[in-house]
């Protein structure tokens, strides 16, 4: 945490290398979160880039209050997801099968994971927004309960309860998908 605080301070003073290190440390997690939340590789890639470019714009105003950088980055990511789905509602919905099938992974990874991801993205559609967010932050983003609580503006107890209900709902949705 102290290392991260130092990196943030250096980045705020214009140290490009410090910002690049923050970027490297969180890039893959943000990408996984975006993939789960939007279910489309191309969109997930664009939006992952947007998260870091927005972070770059706003890092001078970031105030260190012990909040992990990850919580701040995922809050930016969450806002982009909300914007995305608001716009998507106005458009024709992309068929999920088609969008997930275009994951663009290398064939080995695709053979191993494609079905799981497809099922998972479909199953999360049956969850509430808050449940989807918890699953995204905990399992795709790899955040701790404390970090999720910070990112979502909830208490840790509320996040644990939400996590419980989300996993139950996800299990039901996956079971329904199998049948």
């Amino acid at each position: 945490m102290q290392d991260e605080q130092r990196l943030v301070q250096q980045a705020q003073q214009g140290d490009k290398e410090a910002f690049a290190r923050l970027y490297e440390g969180h890039f893959d997690k943000i990408y996984r979160y975006m993939f789960l939340r939007v279910g489309d590789r191309g969109e997930a890639e664009d939006m992952t880039q947007q998260v870091f470019l927005k972070a770059l714009q706003s890092i001078p105003d970031f105030r260190w209050k012990g909040t992990p950088v990850s919580a701040w980055l995922f809050r930016i990511a969450h806002n982009l997801v909300i914007d995305y789905w608001r716009k998507e509602k106005k458009r024709a919905t992309i068929p999920l099968d088609e969008s997930v099938a275009g994951t663009g992974m290398n064939p080995e990874l695709m053979a191993e994971y494609r079905l799981d991801i497809r099922q998972l993205v479909l199953a999360t559609k049956r969850l509430t927004e808050a449940q989807r967010e918890v699953i995204g932050l905990r399992f795709a983003g790899g955040l701790s309960v404390a970090e999720v609580a910070e990112a979502m503006g909830k208490s840790q107890g509320a996040v644990k309860a939400l996590q419980h209900s989300a996993i139950v709902a996800l299990r039901k949705a996956l079971s329904a998908g199998e049948g």
């Binding site: 003073q13 990874l109 799981d116 399992f139």
Partner: protein
């Protein structure tokens, strides 16, 4: 209620042990035999979820994203370089200052900035305007043309710096030129590989044009590709020629930079044009 809360805590502890600390599910279930049946189902769903999400970004995307971020970083001015009134807090003061500036200068500021040179006050406005142009250009073909035109501006600025007796000042412009050429050459322009590429988003990302709204790749009309190719072929000759002409007018210390730019320019255009064939 308390029992529910207790189970939420147990589930969370087991998730940490299973997913973070690498313990097995059985180890956790042994710790809580009374809740084992319910825990087993939930932990197994959590483990499946985690495994399904073990995806990695494509290496080429990751490389491109890093390059674009570094490019955006290079375009940033350190905060201390801003005039006092722009770095002053609170934020409404900045907004007020900008509002007054626009009120006084009007749209003419941006227009005037378009032809400004690196040694003028309006040059940062010119660079910022270019970033906005890039954000508003979602297609790869459009971006390629824009990168090439912006590269042409940088070449023009280098020639200006040399002509006005400031050859030692060309390094920042040279770096910007290299970034633009690198970004152009990295674009996926092959007919079956062109995809929507977003660069630096503004606070609210610009909506893509209708053809790109499906989120799928956009196949550009062949005449657009042909026009772009013509443009690039022209710049591929003109830009290195301008840089070569400047070589004779700079001190020895600056020559390696110009030679590097000439090589970079030639190879970037060659590579980009080849992907359009």
């Amino acid at each position: 209620m308390n029992k529910r809360r207790e189970f939420d805590d147990i589930l969370d502890e087991c998730l940490e042990r299973l997913l973070v600390k690498g313990e097995t599910m059985e180890q956790c279930l042994e710790s809580y035999p009374e809740q084992a049946a319910e825990l087993r189902l939930l932990l197994s769903t959590a483990a499946d979820t985690k495994e399904a999400l073990a995806i990695e970004p494509r290496p080429e995307f990751k490389a491109r994203a890093r390059y674009q971020l570094l490019s955006a970083l290079n375009e940033l001015k350190p905060k201390r370089w801003l005039p006092f009134f722009l770095s002053w807090k609170p934020q409404w003061a900045t907004a007020l200052a900008l509002f007054l500036a626009l009120l006084l200068a009007g749209g003419g500021t941006v227009a005037a900035a378009g032809s400004s040179m690196p040694d003028t006050l309006l040059y940062p406005v010119k660079l910022a305007t270019e970033q906005v142009q890039l954000v508003l250009t979602p297609s790869s073909l459009g971006k390629a043309g824009l990168y090439a035109r912006l590269a042409d501006k940088r070449v023009e600025e280098i020639a200006y710096l040399v002509d006005s007796g400031q050859p030692e000042e060309i390094e920042p412009t040279a770096q910007r030129l290299e970034n633009l050429l690198g970004l152009m050459a990295a674009l996926p322009l092959a007919e079956n590989g062109e995809s929507k590429v977003m660069l630096a988003p503004g606070p609210t990302p610009a909506p893509p044009p209708p053809a790109a709204e499906s989120g799928k790749d956009v196949r550009a009309p062949s005449n657009q590709r042909a026009k772009l190719k013509l443009l690039l072929e022209r710049y591929a000759v003109d830009q290195p020629a301008v840089l070569r002409a400047a070589l004779d007018r700079v001190p020895e210390a600056v020559k390696p930079t110009l030679r590097r730019l000439i090589t970079e320019s030639e190879s970037s255009y060659e590579k980009t044009i080849a992907t359009l064939d």
